[in-house]
């Protein structure tokens, strides 16, 4: 509603995704023309479809850059810190899946996430312990899907 009808007003940041997409289309298209293959039973071969898509994407990206339409403002400050915190926490607990084991890694992730969602420390611990116990029980005992218990503990 706001920027779509007044394309001249949209700032550079609003157009940036269009530029990025255009760049991606170019790289994708060029890489597409260089796919190596010995033989293909059809006239198009493995290169054509990606190249057609890259051309389409390039046109659409230019269109986007000219008329970026609506967008929400990007997060910053404390909010950005929280979002990054959640991602770091998730990635960290994934990294610790094997060495620490599923129960501990999950306890850590859930307690941390609960804090980010405004839980009190006591609620967060309860959330972590509860989730770790619940899902471990469900997966290992009910569904029979093995989960790592932690190489640090000889698992």
């Amino acid at each position: 509603m706001h920027t779509a009808d007044s394309p001249g007003q949209a700032g550079l940041t609003a157009r940036l995704p269009g530029v990025v997409l255009f760049g991606f289309a170019v790289v994708y298209g060029i890489a597409g023309t260089q796919i190596e293959y010995a033989f293909s039973s059809d006239p198009l071969g493995p290169r054509s479809f990606p190249v057609i898509l890259s051309l389409l994407l390039a046109v659409l990206a230019v269109w986007y850059a000219l008329r970026p339409g609506n967008a929400e403002p990007w997060p910053r400050g404390r909010l950005l810190a929280r979002l990054v915190g959640l991602l770091v926490l998730s990635a960290l607990s994934a990294t610790l899946y094997v060495p620490l084991g599923f129960p501990l890694a999950t306890l850590m992730m859930c307690a941390g996430t609960a804090i980010l969602f405004d839980a009190t420390p006591r609620q967060a611990i309860a959330c972590g312990v509860g989730n770790a116990a619940l899902w471990y029980g469900v997966f290992v005992h009910l569904l029979g899907v093995p989960l790592p218990v932690g190489t640090l503990f000889g698992g």
Binding site: G32, P43, A71
Partner: protein
Amino acid sequence: MSLDYLWTGFGVALQWHNLMYGLAGCFLGTLVGALPAVGPINGIALLLPLLYSMGVPADSTMILLAGVYYGAEYGGRISSILLNVPGDAGAVMTALDGNPMARQGRAAEALAISGISSFVGGMIAVVGLTFFAPLLGQLAIGFGPAEYFVLMVFAFATLSSMVGHHPVKTMIGCVIGLALTTIGLDPTSGAYRFTFDEPELSSGIEFIILVIGLFSISEVLFMLEHQYHGRLKPIAVGRGFPSLATLRSCVGTVLRCSGIGFVVGVLPGTGASVASAVSYTTEKRLLDRGTFGKGDPRGLAAPEAANNAAAGGAFVPMLTLGVPGSGTTAVMLGALMLYNIMPGPQLFTERPDIAGGLIASMYIGNILLLLLNLPMVHVFVRLLTVPNWVLIPGILVLSFLGVYSMYASVLSIYMMLGIGVLGYAARKLDFDLAPIVLGFVLGRVAETNLRNALAISGGEVSILFESTISLVLWGMAVLVVLAPWYLHRRRRAAMAAAPDGTAA
């Protein structure tokens, strides 16, 4: 036309364990629909890997997942009415009249009207699906690769013109989804495309990782950003049931909107949210005497009948043509492919247990849902008050486990998180995520059919315009793209003619 497949299907759906899977699906669906944090796509994406790694057979999996899908269309109304926050995309319109009714102390009445409308819409759609799907299937038997490719073009055309408010972004989403399928081994020529010599990429991007990352992870990030400060308190539900006169006043609306919803649902690419928007505006234009938006029961019945009918209709192109009618059915199509079942006209003759079992289960499921959503609605109202700090960690753990139980690799969890960040960014830029999934599900099929068509014709592009079916599909694609543009221009002209802005 024979309905043998349906009788086979009832044999499957009435088996004790499948009734249980159906009930579980309907319960989870209502829950998933009611909770503002999760929609049907999230629910299905999180459940699919669990069912798959548990070794649940394909028929039961489809029965449960379908229950989640149409159950969510029932559940979405609960939070729309009581919180004024739509539980899922199909329930946005439900809040317009449902919430005012609840604020007038008619919450119980509003829940009953919308529950009954949902049931009628759902049932009409299943009957439509039962008869229409095999017919369309017979038509599709004549489809060659060229026709299939043009059909996909038509699907993308309807998607771009009807979903989201920014057609270019919808198209970009489709193209990105299509492009993602070109990663990995090309089976026709044996070429490795865009794999960067990574063995993990040789089989392409896994569907489950894409869907869970795109929907669950991005949703968790969104929830963290848009956290409701101060818990939302649902409006108290008293006792009460709509009077016979009120119910009678809704009959016409419910029947009309079920029809609209079913047709919109059948159109490839458009689902419940488009259906409920179209039917609400239609009813408003037909019936409004200044009461719509202020708690008119008909304004509540319209979108609820439509979104349930659309959920049923969306199965028609998905089962008979392999072209999903909505984002959620796109994920269900991915589920079928995971079980190596190719949808298409032959599904009804070769696998009546799957197609028939699914459709038969929807008759049973809608009755179960009526029971869950009328007498037992209080259970779900109580679950609405579950705070985010309980809900979100659970969603995160399930996302991790879903990916890990399928691929047993930590790398796939990183990939899921990365895709989640991209999905979050896309949503911030006002992209709809469903086109990406639709493009991803259809990419391989579209490319294969295009290449097969040109292999048959020896490289002549004219094969795409030869048969009557192709030409009709091209015509429909052009029509779908031009119609909204034409209507928009006419509306602008009308606005210019009435400068006070009264013409709408």
